[in-house]
Symmetry: C2
Subunit: 337 residues, 2 copies
């Protein structure tokens, strides 16, 4: 079959057709200055005529750098990571980079290290790691320096470049909002405490409570799932004094809403609820959910910018960007009965 299917044209083919040397073609391709306009046009025409497509592997081989960015995320269909990934790819494509994903089943040291290794094999130009737990950061510690790295939602204490959402501020806003509506105090269903996101949301919630002089109720631990929110809700629904709950994410809030509904605790009449994430469906929960919206697009854009800066100049000092979330008010909050 390869008999008539000639191999795809190479730079020399273009050069021959345009009547120049392959180096001139290379210069046109890379937007080098010293090329006469007329020559440039001729080369462009030859490229178009042949349908020439530069071979990235060859370029990567000689430059030692690919136009590939690796992104490591936990293998999950969680809304946050998925949004981040999509936003990232979009932004990277605009900058001429391709994105290679390496999802990991778990966020332990081995999984992360393995995914990073696989990307290093690909000679990625830079690496983005969504590292919301300590073990992920740890795995990165032993990594060969030299490849630009940005972590998302990682430990702010670490020295490398990172982008985080200001979880604490978001949690404070949510808690204050509930307090401002007249609630004596606010309960919190947390995410898994080894997640930085979860830890900071707890911290923000506590801070807002202290600052208002409100009692700090016992923390209700959960994971990120709707199921765990439901379980938590089945407990909280039995306590008449619970009139305001801040859930660590929208899915938990959904479970919570259902538990309350089953126990005839009306939201927001009897209990007010605030979530976190602003998933697209949150506006259609019963009732529509007041929640905290982190801007995933902003996170992705900031992360990419930071990474590209490092790729362009590896000597760029570590940097840190914090994205402020905003509160989206809907119908799940009301004054206590």
């Amino acid at each position: 079959m390869d008999v008539h299917a000639a191999r795809s044209p190479a730079m020399t083919d273009v050069a021959r057709l345009a009547g120049v040397s392959h180096q001139t073609v290379s210069r046109v391709l890379n937007d080098h200055p010293n090329v006469r306009e007329q020559t440039r046009l001729r080369v462009r025409a030859a490229i178009a005529e042949l349908g020439y497509r530069p071979n990235r592997a060859a370029r990567a081989l000689v430059t030692g750098r690919s136009q590939l960015i690796g992104i490591v995320a936990q293998n999950s269909t969680l809304y946050g990571p998925a949004s981040l990934l999509a936003a990232f790819e979009q932004a990277a494509a605009e900058a001429g980079f391709a994105v290679s994903v390496g999802s990991v089943g778990r966020l332990d040291r081995e999984s992360i290290a393995g995914a990073v290794e696989r990307h290093l094999d690909q000679r990625v130009a830079g690496l983005v790691v969504i590292a919301p737990v300590k073990s992920a950061d740890d795995a990165l510690e032993g990594m060969p320096a030299g490849v630009p790295l940005v972590t998302i939602d990682g430990d702010p204490q670490r020295s490398h470049t990172l982008v985080t959402v200001d979880q604490s501020a978001g949690a404070r806003a949510a808690t204050r909002h509930l307090l401002a509506a007249g609630h004596r105090t606010v309960w919190h269903i947390s995410g898994p405490p080894e997640w930085y996101d979860a830890a900071w949301r707890i911290e923000g919630w506590r801070a807002a409570l202290h600052e208002a002089g409100a009692e700090v109720p016992p923390l209700v631990n959960a994971d990120w799932s709707a199921a765990s929110g439901y379980d938590a809700g089945r407990m909280l629904a039995r306590m008449p004094e619970v009139t305001a709950v801040f859930a660590a994410n929208d899915h938990q809030a959904l479970g919570l809403l259902r538990a309350f509904s089953e126990h005839d605790r009306r939201v927001p009449h009897d209990v007010s609820v605030v979530g976190f994430d602003d998933v697209p469906e949150a506006a259609f929960f019963i009732p529509p959910l007041t929640t905290v919206r982190p801007s995933f697009d902003a996170v992705a854009q900031a992360g990419l910018d930071l990474l590209l800066a490092q790729i362009a100049d590896p000597a760029t000092p570590p940097n840190r960007v914090v994205i402020a979330p905003s509160l989206v008010e809907r119908a799940s909050v009301a004054p206590p009965a």
Copy 2:
């Protein structure tokens, strides 16, 4: 682990250390037969000692094929595509392939073609396109043959290899289930009709109605969003004769549920609802949603297998795999009042 390597070691460095030629190192790396066990061990030791990592770009350059597969999907924050992507990456990593994503904002010809082009630039070994609308298939039509291609949820009429979920069967199952509960007929809120998924779900719904001799109510058009389901619900809630609704996906169903709740139409007492997708939250809707579950893992695995077969032997004839979805019964269906 020392780190002072000026540049990362190449094959010749390993060869020198092991006292063999670079070609022997290559053979060890590629599991070629004719290497003495003792030599193999020596080479392996040298590789480990140097922390040698083969340069994929160089390999890709000479073989003309990368160990990269590209995947093109729309807005991967939707549950379906996100699940697919994650499952795919997992399966691909096990097969030694990396996955490069190209999400596109819209599914029009240009966007798809652009994403495909970008992947071709990377010299991907194969391409997976989630192409649920006609324009996506069209864009693929003009593609240079020669690169293995699998489409997901594409047009079954096309000649290339594809994997689809049996949307029609899922829709029939949902509709029959509602009919079996005693409803006179079943209304349907559809997805955008240019999506094959949506079209086949409509088809399955109609077929089940005909086959039961039930009246076919007017089709309610919507997009995939919860908002559109809500809008549809505000209409349906006003018609007392509507006792059973099959929504084209779970998000629509969520919007529907809320609209019914606002109009004091109780689900399932007054109206029964069935969705499609089985998003993880569906079990926590109010009430828990009966829905149709396509197995995204199965789709991803089948897609990858088909693609790898084509990569291994480009002469593999086009193939077609259909994945049967299953009905998940929960609490949103009951006999009519």
